[in-house]
Symmetry: C2
Subunit: 515 residues, 2 copies
């Protein structure tokens, strides 16, 4: 309805008393139960949806009115529109056949935590605004830190502490600002253009973005090349050599991001040796374990973060592989004071005696924003509802499924496992030799190299798989090679889905290779 042109009835205009209660307990109960049933049904039937949405750009504009409604609509109508218009445009990250990017790890416990957080709807910027929000966060960050066997120096029960942010991008921005200010306090603020940030060519783009945001000169963002022969990990000798060149040029090494489980291939940078190099130059080392951090609760995988004791900060996304639903990034700091120094604010209207006493944590000073949701509830509910032993087994089951998928790929000689599988992600492709027939045709017409053809065919294979709607996988390009990633970790995924996914890959490969 056109509210702009028609306005609204004079009767309503004159009536200043609100005619309904948007938090009426009876309506809340009725509608809340309705949505729970809606979502439970959704999980029950989730396998029936195409995993990757198949809509065209602009599809929704044509299905929605041009103007917001003037008058209330019943929840039944809205939910019907949701099912008919919104759901077809959703890519089903919770589908058992979702193998794209990294998982978006949902669970009943994570959902309940978000419900309680949203229902109480508190704004926990400092301790006083809701003491439980701050204190529970400190408790669960210590709990999870202990399960990960993080050194005491990262825990409140030691000399550090943890905080829940939205995403790893925030964790990187927060630590980068602290690192910058720490260094500038030594060399003078006017020398900001001399600071250098180090990453590998496999590091998440979040670091480049954050470095740009905080004013690191683009020419001082050092991207170090990795190689297939060393599984696309950042080599300490490459780092050292880059640093030495910079120092010789009068630049100041400031920050290193080490990745445990890169986005493309889950490469594990050698944390210990890299820290040793960085330490010599007084740099801040952040460990981005967004994906792989969660699995380090299993003793057999804990070695992946050996050396963390020499880092300054460590983060993982619990919403990726720890059942907390989006968003929930866990960041531990060895020296929270350096972050607080950079990010604290003082507002008269937030003054209170608890803060003055310095007995409490005010998390607003550990993050970019002032307001913050009660995310600790999700972590608390997940840890308590499932227990550490089950959580370990849950993560192991994904690694086992990835082993199964890997084994299936290996058995088919037309395919290769492109880089050694570390955890629950398998990077594979059709071999150049397998696409030679198609390749020869192309070579005659356009002069492609074998590898180019393989890239093209693998891209076509992936599009074909995803176009089926039956599964969803994504790609990476590493060392110039297009590989298909099968990322296992959606909560509902079981071995049968993984086997089915592989069969589908084979069917589509067959169709392409024999067209």
């Amino acid at each position: 309805m056109d509210t702009q042109r028609t306005g609204y009835p004079a009767r309503l205009q004159a009536n200043h008393t609100f005619i309904m209660n948007p938090l009426d307990p009876k309506e809340f109960r009725r509608q809340g139960h309705m949505i729970i049933d809606f979502l439970a049904d959704y999980y029950q039937n989730i396998g029936n949806y195409p995993v990757l949405s198949q809509v065209e750009p602009g599809y929704l504009r044509n299905l929605t009115p041009d103007f917001a409604p003037l008058n209330p609509e019943p929840i039944e109508t809205i939910l019907q529109d949701f099912q008919q218009h919104i759901v077809p445009g959703i890519t089903h990250w919770q589908s058992p056949n979702y193998f794209a990017y990294f998982p978006s790890s949902g669970s009943t416990a994570g959902f309940l935590g978000e419900m309680l957080s949203t229902g109480f709807n508190l704004v926990g910027f400092n301790w006083l605004s809701s003491p439980a929000a701050t204190e529970l966060e400190s408790v669960v960050m210590d709990w999870l830190g202990q399960v990960l066997k993080l050194p005491k120096a990262f825990l409140f029960s030691g000399s550090g502490g943890g905080v829940l942010l939205g995403t790893t991008c925030e964790a990187i921005l927060v630590t980068l600002v602290a690192a910058r200010d720490k260094m500038l306090s030594r060399i003078g603020r006017e020398n900001i253009c001399e600071l250098v940030v180090y990453v590998s060519d496999q590091t998440h783009c979040a670091v480049q973005k954050a470095a740009h945001i905080i004013g690191i000169h683009p020419k001082n963002f050092r991207v170090i090349k990795t190689m297939k022969s060393t599984s696309f990990t950042l080599l300490p000798e490459s780092l050292l050599s880059a640093i030495q060149t910079d120092v010789q040029n009068g630049l100041v090494p400031c920050y290193l991001c080490v990745t445990v489980g890169t986005t493309s291939t889950t490469a594990i940078d050698p944390l210990g040796p890299l820290c040793k190099v960085a330490k010599k130059y007084g740099m801040w080392v952040h460990v981005d374990a967004a994906y792989a951090g969660s699995v380090c609760i299993c003793p057999e995988f804990r070695h992946l973060i050996d050396g963390v004791e020499d880092a300054n900060s460590f983060s993982l996304n619990a919403h990726k592989w720890f059942l907390t639903n989006l968003d929930c990034c866990c960041l531990w700091l060895k020296d929270p004071a350096s972050v607080i120094k950079s990010l604290s604010t003082h507002s008269v209207y937030l003054e209170n005696s608890a803060t003055d006493s310095k007995q409490v944590v005010d998390y607003k000073d550990w993050q970019i924003t002032l307001s913050r949701r009660f995310r600790a509830l999700k972590v608390w509910l997940v840890l308590r509802s499932y227990g550490v032993a089950n959580l370990r087994n849950f993560l192991r089951s994904h690694v086992e499924m990835a082993k199964t998928f890997e084994e299936l790929v290996r058995r088919d000689k037309r395919f290769e496992i492109f880089v050694p599988r570390n955890l629950s992600v398998v990077c594979f492709r059709l071999l150049p030799s397998a696409v030679a027939k198609i390749g020869n045709g192309k070579v005659q017409n356009g002069g492609f190299k074998n590898e180019d053809v393989a890239n093209e065919i693998n891209r076509r294979l992936l599009d074909s798989i995803n176009g089926s709607g039956t599964v969803y996988m994504t790609h990476a390009i590493v060392g110039g090679v297009f590989v298909i990633r099968c990322a296992i970790g959606a909560t509902l995924t079981d071995t049968k889905h993984v086997i089915m996914a592989w069969k589908l890959v084979q069917e589509h490969a067959y169709a392409i290779l024999n067209y």
Copy 2:
């Protein structure tokens, strides 16, 4: 239980099959219904809780085990602990007797939107990751922009566009980076230390924090003084004079934040005239209408943002006064391209043909982080469930209640309304003359001035009110004067709560003045 020392049973260690399904529809349904009932009961009985939590720092550490549980616990136990241990540490932002800071505006529709978002748990970084998430966001941002009568230049249906972020702090950081880069592209990146950011002494501390984060030199963060005689608004002539001095000193004016509804007293900066000054110098003007923006959907309040056509960006927090639950900041941009230029990232694994076609919005480039929740659902559900006409009346009802409170204060000659009430926040205090008796005693003992005594007594009055647990209000200090803020807008607040709150203030004032 001590998972670190005891480890876990060999039986579980060997069993790699996960023994339960964290998204089992049956359990999801059972537990989901349980939480809905829990929250509905909470809203029903919310008046029984002390509004401001009365716990002491560290209270929760003593109530929680030192280690995360090894084995699962039933939801019933967890919920019991939540009620017994967590709820007492919560400040009840949804209480009808909550008058602190600004409201945290919750509703059934906002809650349902968050449930759906959390249940589908998609990660909408770009269009392809879930087309509906992006497209619905564009739709609701245009809907709300139209209701606010924003110029077409801010809408997708014009030449601009809107985005949903978490909080205003993000909106400011995003626009500040874009403004910085726009200016540096003209004057050269090495001149970052010459950029100046302008605010008033009433501007939210978020701007100072964001300016620090992006590398604005602290000496170039210009805080312009406001005065009581002009209701603590930023005067165009003060801005102009500050700019002229800076320009004479070779500095470069970059960014102005205009506030429509300041945090302390809801002062309304004169947007139009300020834009005219800023425009002469090619500055970016951001309008922070975090609190007051929502009420501009009412025609009679729309004039508060007259002049917005000359600004570059405009934001409001729908979670403050528009029923969307935390978090939900609406940001409209006249020139999204300038933000995208600063914040876009390129990652091979996110490449897709929809992005290549340039037919779609990829919201990751409109914000700090990569991952993002499906916040548009909350705005969509609120607009449809309540309708624009009811929403207008809902906001009006809060302004009416504030008028009632103001009138009650005016009738009591011991009190004053410290600054003219603009919307739903009343700033008041006990007059120096009323505390003269106590003051005289103090003057004899310690040489206080009348105003100092008034500040001290008003602070004591506020502590006394809040200590009762019956209501919660907060303070501001403006022009050296301590004032009590009564911020009306909690969803469940009705006129009777406002009248009760005033009676409570009077009772406590009586006790203090006649001790």
